[in-house]
C-alpha cells in the first residue's frame, strides 16, 4: 500500500503542471504559422477568378478547358516569382474586372443601386408630403350684421 502523497507537495505540483500547460499553449500560439504552399496560394487566386466559359463557377471549381489553362497560368506565374496580386491583375488586364468574383472597384455595381435608392427616397419624401393633411380652412366668423342682412335679402326674395 503506497503512502498517500504529503499535502505539502500538492501546490508545487499543481503550479508546475499549470506552468507547463501555459508554456505549451504559448508555444502553440506564438509559433510562426507555416507559409501557405504555392498550390494553396494558386487555389486561393483561382477561387477569386470567374471561369470564363462556365456559368457561375470559379476557376478553382471548374474543369473546363479555360479554367484548366488559367490554373496552369496561375501556377506558372507564381513559379516565376510573381505576387498573388500581380497574378490577379494579369487576368483583370485581359478580361477586365468581370473576371473577379468580387470586383475591387464596385462603383459600376453601386452606382445603379445608389441611383435607385436615391429615387426611392425622393419618391417616399414626395408621397409623405402629399399625404400630410392640409391646413384646416379657417372660416371667417359671420357677424350679426351680415346675418341680419342675409335674412332680409332672403325675405325680400320670398316676398
Amino acid at each position: 500500500m503506497a503512502e498517500p502523497m504529503p499535502r505539502r507537495y500538492a501546490f508545487p505540483i499543481a503550479l508546475g503542471a499549470l506552468l507547463a500547460l501555459g508554456g505549451l499553449v504559448a508555444v502553440m500560439v506564438l509559433r510562426p504559422g507555416l507559409a501557405p504552399s504555392q498550390a494553396e496560394v494558386g487555389h486561393e487566386i483561382a477561387s477569386d477568378l470567374r471561369c470564363p466559359d462556365c456559368q457561375g463557377l470559379s476557376v478553382a471549381d471548374s474543369s473546363s478547358p479555360s479554367a484548366t489553362e488559367i490554373r496552369r497560368q496561375i501556377d506558372a506565374q507564381l513559379s516565376a516569382g510573381r505576387s498573388p496580386d500581380q497574378v490577379r491583375r494579369s487576368f483583370v488586364d485581359r478580361y477586365g474586372e468581370w473576371i473577379l468574383l468580387s470586383p475591387t472597384a464596385p462603383i459600376a455595381t453601386l452606382l445603379p443601386v445608389g441611383v435607385l435608392l436615391a429615387a426611392i427616397g425622393v419618391l417616399a419624401l414626395w408621397i409623405g408630403r402629399a399625404r400630410t393633411p392640409a391646413q384646416p380652412v379657417t372660416v371667417p366668423a359671420v357677424s350679426d350684421l351680415d346675418r341680419a342682412r342675409a335674412r332680409e335679402e332672403a325675405e325680400a326674395l320670398d316676398a
Binding site: 470564363p52 497560368q73 445603379p112
Partner: protein, 181 residues
C-alpha cells in the same frame, strides 16, 4: 411649392427610366473588352495548314480576328458566310484570321468543307491561351485590330456585314488620321 413637387416627378422618373433602358438594352452576357486601345496580345501559333503565324506578321493592315468553333452552331455557320463575303469584298486590304476555340483541327476541316473553304488562315490554339489573352468567354467573338496592332473593337456574338463595314472603315480612318497610337 406645387411646381417643386411636379419637378420631383421627372427628377425621380428620368434617372430610373434611363437606368432601366441602359440595363435592358445590353446583353448581360456581353463583356466589354479590357483590350480596347491596347496592343494585341503577342502570339506565335500554327495554322490549320501547318504554317507558323506570329502577331508581328499581322502588322500593316486591319485585322479581323475571329474566335470560332465547329460546334458553335448556328452562330458560327451564319458568321462564316458573312466572313466569306467580307474576304471577297475586301481582298488583301483586310486580313481575316480565324482562331479555333476549344475544337479539334478535324472538326474545323469538316466545317470548312461543308460551309465553304476560307481564304484566310485559322490558328490552332490547343490550350486556349490566345483566347485567354484576348479575354474570350465563348465563340463567336471577334476583335478588330488596326494596322499598328492596336485592338479597336470587340464583337460579342456573330459578326455581320454592317459591323465589319463600320469597324473596318473606322479603323482605316483612325489609321489615316494618324491615331495609330
Amino acid at each position: 411649392m406645387r411646381t417643386l413637387r411636379w419637378l420631383l416627378v421627372p427628377i425621380v422618373v428620368v434617372p430610373v427610366v434611363l437606368l432601366l433602358l441602359h440595363g435592358f438594352s445590353r446583353d448581360p452576357a456581353a463583356i466589354p473588352s479590357a483590350l480596347i486601345g491596347k496592343p494585341m496580345p503577342s502570339f506565335s501559333l500554327v495554322t490549320l495548314d501547318g504554317r507558323t503565324m506570329t502577331s508581328a506578321d499581322l502588322r500593316g493592315k486591319p485585322v479581323v480576328l475571329n474566335f470560332w468553333a465547329s460546334w458553335c452552331i448556328p452562330a458560327c455557320v451564319d458568321e462564316h458566310a458573312v466572313l466569306l463575303e467580307a474576304a471577297r469584298q475586301y481582298g488583301s486590304s483586310v486580313q481575316i484570321v480565324g482562331v479555333l476555340y476549344q475544337d479539334s483541327p478535324d472538326g474545323a476541316r469538316t466545317f470548312d468543307a461543308r460551309y465553304g473553304e476560307p481564304s484566310w488562315p485559322t490558328l490552332l490554339d490547343p490550350n486556349g491561351s490566345l483566347a485567354i489573352d484576348f479575354g474570350v468567354s465563348g465563340p463567336p467573338e471577334s476583335y478588330v485590330v488596326d494596322a499598328n496592332g492596336i485592338v479597336r473593337y470587340k464583337q460579342f456574338g456573330p459578326l455581320t456585314q454592317a459591323v465589319i463595314a463600320d469597324q473596318v472603315a473606322r479603323v482605316l480612318s483612325l489609321t489615316a488620321a494618324g491615331r495609330g497610337d
